[in-house]
């Protein structure tokens, strides 16, 4: 159905982290967590 | 025979397991319609207890939401035995969340309590335009109109609806009650309602007073 979706863990999560190349590696996880917290609104 | 007092008590205590166990056993006993009505009545007694506990502060809004869910589940279970004929109704209420507002939790709490008190409720849902209230009141010859809203802008829609009811020549034959976060005595006067309440159990009492 939605085989290519990113919403798998940890595979999809890590795939997106790897794509956040505008950020230093150590900041990416916190950034993504912050985004999810904002997407709750 | 199912003990109706126990059903009422379990309902009042919001004890879903006990309510559903008693009703399952009841339905399985092939009851007649009079027996079914007595069990419905017991559920309604339980809802009255819930309203009282709410007024005492023992229960709060979340409990009333849950009570509404439980009551609906209980009635669904008894429905097949009732075969469509219900007890006589004490009055007709046209109910809705007013135009521009889509909050329905308060309205639904009031609905479940007022239905339990024997009223026939015509629920127009949320974001209800004034003309839908007018049409429904005319169609069913309602006794009472209940308008609900959480947003402050709801009061403008309440006034608009009451003005339309007056323009349609229906206002003098009905009572109007408003409920929700933004209503108070001032707002009630301003929009031209007969009564207001921010407390569903209190609102039911007001409606009961009107149809006595």
């Amino acid at each position: 159905m939605t085989e290519q979706t990113l919403f798998t863990y940890p595979e999809g999560w890590n795939e997106l982290l790897a794509a956040l190349d505008f950020l230093p590696e150590e900041q990416r996880n916190g950034f993504l967590q912050g985004l999810l917290q904002t997407l709750l609104f | 025979m199912t003990d109706v007092k126990l059903v009422a008590q379990a309902m009042g205590e919001l004890d879903e397991d006990r309510v559903m166990a008693a009703l399952t056993e009841f339905v399985a006993s092939s009851p007649n319609e009079a027996e079914a009505l007595s069990v419905v009545n017991a559920c309604q007694q339980g809802m009255i207890v819930i309203g009282e506990l709410f007024e005492k502060g023992e229960y709060f809004v979340g409990d009333l939401i849950y009570a509404g869910e439980l009551m609906a589940k209980a009635i669904d279970m008894i429905k097949p035995v009732l075969k469509g004929t219900g007890s006589s109704k004490v009055g007709k209420i046209v109910l809705g969340t007013v135009q521009g507002d889509i909050h329905d939790i308060g309205k639904n709490i009031f609905k479940s309590l007022v239905e339990s008190a024997g009223f026939e409720v015509y629920d127009l849902g949320t974001d209800t335009p004034p003309e839908r209230f007018v049409d429904k009141v005319r169609e069913v010859k309602a006794d009472i109109v209940g308008m609900s809203g959480v947003l402050n802008l709801a009061t403008t829609a309440m006034k608009e609806t009451i003005d339309r009811l007056a323009a349609a020549g229906l206002r003098d034959d009905i009572k109007v009650i408003i409920g929700g976060n933004p209503v108070n005595g001032e707002v009630c006067k301003h929009v031209g309602a007969d009564a207001f309440s921010t407390n569903a159990a209190q609102g039911v009492k007001i409606c009961q007073g009107w149809v006595k």
């Binding site: 863990y9 997407l39 709750l40 | 939401i65």
Partner: protein, 395 residues
């Protein structure tokens, strides 16, 4: 004393003094102003919510006109651009009514409590996201998420910038809500964003042990991006920050459905931890508490004196002062009904009464009693008259 730097120092000091129940020369005027700011500016809500430049312009004009001392929010509460990058938002924008509507939501099933317990962010990623953002749950998901990341970065820039601009241009310290580390007990996350009002009301009756288990595990978390309360505490130094009013902020929304007994279970243990922290680290906590709160005063009374400010939305402030005034600094009081329906003089008279009766011995901040959002929440000329009065009224 009108240059921004002096105003900033004065406003920070007034906040600390009021919170500590010291007598002050005047009373702070806190803006509980939300979408009404956009309405007053003449912009459509749909324009300003999607255009940071327009939102900023609306806010600047507003401050120049009304001169508040503090804001709860600078149009940050509804980051619609970020959500819209994923093709969905729970909000319905209605320009005609200047209204932002939201329906009760539910993005979890009862069995998901165990998943939240196991790994909260994994639950959000694998279950919450596909349910809330179905358009992004497709072969487009990576592109859409990267777009949302860009929007999120821009949103972060806007938040930092608008808070900074208010300091530099107007001497207004960072926003109480979205310019200050902001937290909620985890129950609020379930209530507002994940399980919804109806779902949570049922769960509290049907599976209270599950609800309690996740509340115990997650305790107090950031609202919006940010660390958990535990991480914030671990990084904290002793003493209050003189670059802002409160050191931390909490919002109470879901308490509105809880009985006193339920509050004690799902709220109080975590709130108590924050109260204890403020005393231990000499911090100031600002709480925005929606609805009517009097049944919960026994808990609020436990606040350490001089460390907690509570904005009470619909409470009788004169009664609250009697019952809580010894420990808690109160905020609020000005009725939006009066701001819309009353005359200019009635408004000024009521504002004077509030200040005379509530601020005489310190421990009070002036604000509107409800979140001012809709056109009929407030009349511009009344707000202007009240603000001019409050600013000039010396104690």
């Amino acid at each position: 004393m009108s240059d921004p730097a002096s105003l900033m120092r004065e406003r920070v000091q007034l906040y600390k003094d009021a919170a500590r129940h010291k007598k002050t020369s005047r009373v702070l005027n806190v803006a509980n102003m939300w979408n009404w700011i956009v309405y007053d500016s003449g912009y459509k809500l749909s324009e300003a919510l999607f255009d940071y430049g327009k939102m900023e312009d609306a806010l600047f004009k507003f401050q120049e006109k009304y001169q508040f001392d503090y804001y709860n929010d600078y149009g940050i509460r509804n980051p619609l651009r970020v959500q819209s990058a994923l093709g969905h938002t729970d909000y319905i924008v209605n320009d005609e009514a200047n209204a932002l509507n939201i329906q009760d939501i539910n993005y979890m099933e009862p069995e998901d409590y165990d998943d939240i317990l196991e790994n909260y962010f994994k639950f959000l990623w694998t279950k919450y996201m596909p349910r809330k953002y179905p358009q992004a749950n497709s072969s487009e998901s990576k592109a859409m998420m990267l777009n949302a990341c860009q929007e999120f970065a821009q949103f972060g820039q806007y938040v930092g910038n608008i808070n900074q601009q208010f300091v530099v241009k107007y001497g207004v310290p960072p926003a109480l809500g979205f310019g200050t580390p902001a937290f909620v007990v985890f129950y609020e996350i379930l209530f507002n964003f994940i399980r919804g009002i109806r779902g949570l009301s049922i769960d509290i009756r049907q599976r209270p042990e599950k609800v309690k288990a996740v509340c115990d595990a997650l305790r107090t978390v950031s609202i919006g991006p940010g660390p958990t309360f535990a991480a914030f505490k671990a990084a904290s130094q002793h003493g209050t920050d003189m670059n802002r009013g409160p050191d931390l902020f909490m919002v109470f929304l879901g308490h509105t459905i809880l009985s006193k007994k339920q509050f004690e279970v799902y709220y109080w243990p975590y709130l108590k931890e924050v109260f204890d922290f403020t005393e231990q680290y000499d911090k100031i906590l600002h709480i925005f508490a929606e609805g009517e709160n009097s049944r919960l005063y026994d808990f609020y009374k436990e606040a350490p004196k001089g460390h907690v400010v509570i904005h009470l939305e619909m409470d009788d402030m004169f009664r609250a002062k009697k019952e809580l005034g010894d420990t808690v600094c109160l905020c609020g009081g000005m009725p939006v009904d009066l701001l819309y329906h009353g005359t200019r003089q009635e408004n000024i008279d009521y504002a004077k009464r509030l200040i005379d009766e509530l601020a005489a011995d310190g421990g009070f901040m002036f604000s509107q009693n409800k979140m001012v959002s809709y056109p009929n929440d407030c009349k511009a000329e009344n707000l202007k008259a009240v603000n001019d009065f409050v600013r000039g009224y010396t104690l």
